[in-house]
């Protein structure tokens, strides 16, 4: 037994040095010639095992995981708290009960009053909680998508307000939330959960160098996407010149035409040009069976966006004031016409489909534009801009993916107007 223990110790000592690269098998055998015959096959096997398990996570995953962890940490103020179950494991009935209790405890008035509060207000947490509960309770993919678009519009609105009121300390938190919503929008529309969802983090950064937090240096992806954004916005009357490298695919997919009744110029931003490294959307919208989908046109101050595709015209209407997201609640659950199978196996009625597409198309233009304005302004601290750029990139990629994927699923199914 004593001999076994001694050999175990010698084997372990050699293994430590072998694993850490301090010694080779031969060097170890030289130190213990009396055990060499017994040691050698074990050390060679150990070397083989050590080499075989030397795998690494993919760069994409590493970047995504780091980003999600950062987001998680930003969402919860401090890690030092008792273990909690994550929301994904909470049953729906519990969420519903929680929502009812929230309304009961806080009072419906507080929840309603929280609708228009801004970060820093004591009711702001209620506003966020309410939004989260609404998403959890939403039963359909399109409803969840609409809610995320609304939440994104709210965050953009809040960031603009914070910037113009010199209350910039919460802008980064809002941008991180925004980024998360865009990721969710992309995920919800992804085909069979396999389509790539863009999370704009520097995936090339594989080193262990600590680079988290608000002072994160500008990433390559952020730079690229910003350039893409200015390319897109160039068509909307912005000063940035179009980048030929990113406009070569301009004719490929959707070509929305923005016509504003408030600001005169008729412009033609190209959605397909906004993403120089779009993760290969194989479901680009080339044809749609919808001809013209008339959407309620609100009075005077509305902006009309007409999106033209081959054989397709969407008329998108910006609501006058109440909702920047362009979402009409009465369109969400209504509709009983042709059912369209969505990517997630749910069915989407024709009216819901058109409503959702309008919302996505409208916000895919307006939200990046607002974020770009913030980036261009001097009211936002430089330290926050990398996070804003990631949000901008996420908005462009994920909106486009969502539009492409929902359109694609519509094409593959019974589409409105398609006999």
């Amino acid at each position: 037994m004593g001999t076994n223990k001694q050999f175990d110790n010698i084997l372990n000592e050699c293994l430590e040095k072998l694993i850490t690269g301090q010694e080779t098998v031969e060097q170890c055998l030289q130190r213990y010639p009396q055990y060499a015959a017994e040691l050698e096959p074990l050390l060679r096997t150990a070397t083989m095992v050590n080499k075989a398990v030397d795998v690494k996570p993919s760069a994409e995953f590493r970047a995504k995981a780091r980003y999600e962890m950062q987001l998680k940490m930003a969402q919860s103020k401090a890690p030092a708290r008792a273990p909690t179950r994550t929301a994904r494991f909470v049953p729906r009935w519990a969420i519903a009960v929680g929502a009812v209790m929230l309304v009961f405890v806080l009072g419906g008035g507080s929840v309603l009053a929280s609708n228009n509060v801004m970060p820093g207000n004591i009711l702001y947490g209620v506003k966020l909680a309410k939004e989260t509960v609404q998403v959890k309770l939403a039963g359909s993919t399109e409803k969840k998508t609409e809610l995320y678009v609304t939440m994104a519009a709210n965050r953009v609105n809040e960031m603009t307000w914070m910037a113009s009121n010199n209350k910039t300390q919460n802008i980064e938190a809002a941008a991180l939330r925004l980024d998360n919503y865009y990721t969710q929008i992309g995920k919800l529309a992804s085909v069979g959960n396999n389509a790539m969802v863009f999370t704009p983090y520097n995936s090339s950064n594989q080193s262990n160098t600590f680079s988290w937090g608000a002072t994160t240096t500008e990433t390559q992806s952020g730079t690229t996407m910003t350039q893409a954004a200015t390319t897109q916005l160039a068509g909307a009357g912005k000063s940035a010149p179009p980048n030929p490298a990113t406009t070569t695919t301009a004719a490929a997919t959707i070509t929305p035409t923005v016509t504003s009744t408030v600001v005169a110029p008729v412009t033609t931003p190209t959605l397909s040009a906004v993403a120089p490294y779009t993760p290969a959307p194989t479901t680009a919208v080339t044809t749609t069976n919808v001809n013209i989908l008339p959407i309620t046109i609100p009075p005077e101050t509305s902006t009309v966006i007409t999106v033209t595709q081959p054989a397709t015209t969407f008329v998108i209407t910006q609501p006058a004031a109440s909702s920047r997201s362009g979402i009409h609640d009465n369109n969400v659950s209504g509709g009983n016409s042709n059912q369209v199978a969505t990517n997630n196996g749910l069915s989407l009625s024709a009216s819901n489909y058109s409503s959702l597409m309008n919302i996505l198309l409208y916000n895919s233009v307006t939200q990046p534009e607002e974020i770009q304005k913030l980036l261009d302004s001097n009211q936002v601290p430089e330290s926050v801009k990398p996070t804003l750029r990631r949000a901008l990139a996420a908005s462009q990629i994920n909106y486009q993916n969502a539009i492409n994927n929902f359109s694609s699923s519509n094409n593959n199914s019974t589409a409105p107007g398609n006999p």
Binding site: N12, T45, M48, A78, A82, N208
Partner: protein, 183 residues
């Protein structure tokens, strides 16, 4: 070691940068440990992330008391794995994911060879006892020291060394087909 203790202490007090550094220090080890056991890149990635989220949520209640942070972290990973295996017990095992990336990825031929080697090793470890498999995973994939592995598995260092010996011997039998001869 002292540096890690400091980081853990700061993370417990709510300093997010300290936890981020711990995350960076242990991320690859946890991933290797998980992937060796469940052999699927996508699942391993998801689980690795869950381990760190769980750790982040729980670090406030972590008390060293002789259990190093590394051991505590690997216990979380182990528990996640147990849950996973329980849920997946009715499913068939899948081949080692094609997308697994090998550290030395400059040579495609070498990469393929290494994947084949890993597949062999994974299949061989499947024939080990649970305890032997755990020791191999912790020591080689997780890169834990004998002390850390002992703390993680709640066994003595002597027991871990003995398990390590018997595990490598068993792997040798499976991989090479014989234990005598020395080559």
């Amino acid at each position: 070691m002292q540096e890690e203790l400091d980081l853990v202490q700061r993370a417990r007090q709510g300093e997010q940068e300290a936890f981020a550094q711990l995350y960076e220090n242990h991320f690859d080890k946890i991933f290797r440990y998980v992937v060796l056991k469940i052999r699927n890149q996508a699942e391993a990635e998801d689980m690795t992330q869950q381990v760190f989220i769980k750790a982040y949520e729980s670090i406030g209640s972590y008390q060293s008391q002789g259990v190093p942070f590394t051991a505590w972290l690997f216990r979380i990973a182990h528990n996640q794995m147990v849950d996973y295996v329980r849920k997946q017990s009715k499913r068939q095992t899948v081949p080692l994911d094609e997308s697994l990336q090998i550290m030395d990825d400059c040579d495609v031929e070498h990469e393929v060879e290494t994947k084949i080697e890993m597949e062999k090793v994974v299949l061989a470890t499947a024939k080990l006892t649970k305890a032997q498999r755990e020791v191999i995973s912790l020591r080689f994939a997780g890169g834990l020291s004998i002390t850390e592995a002992a703390k993680t598995m709640r066994k003595s260092e002597g027991a871990i060394k003995a398990l390590q010996h018997s595990a490598i011997l068993a792997l040798r039998k499976t991989l090479v087909g014989g234990v005598n001869g020395g080559n």
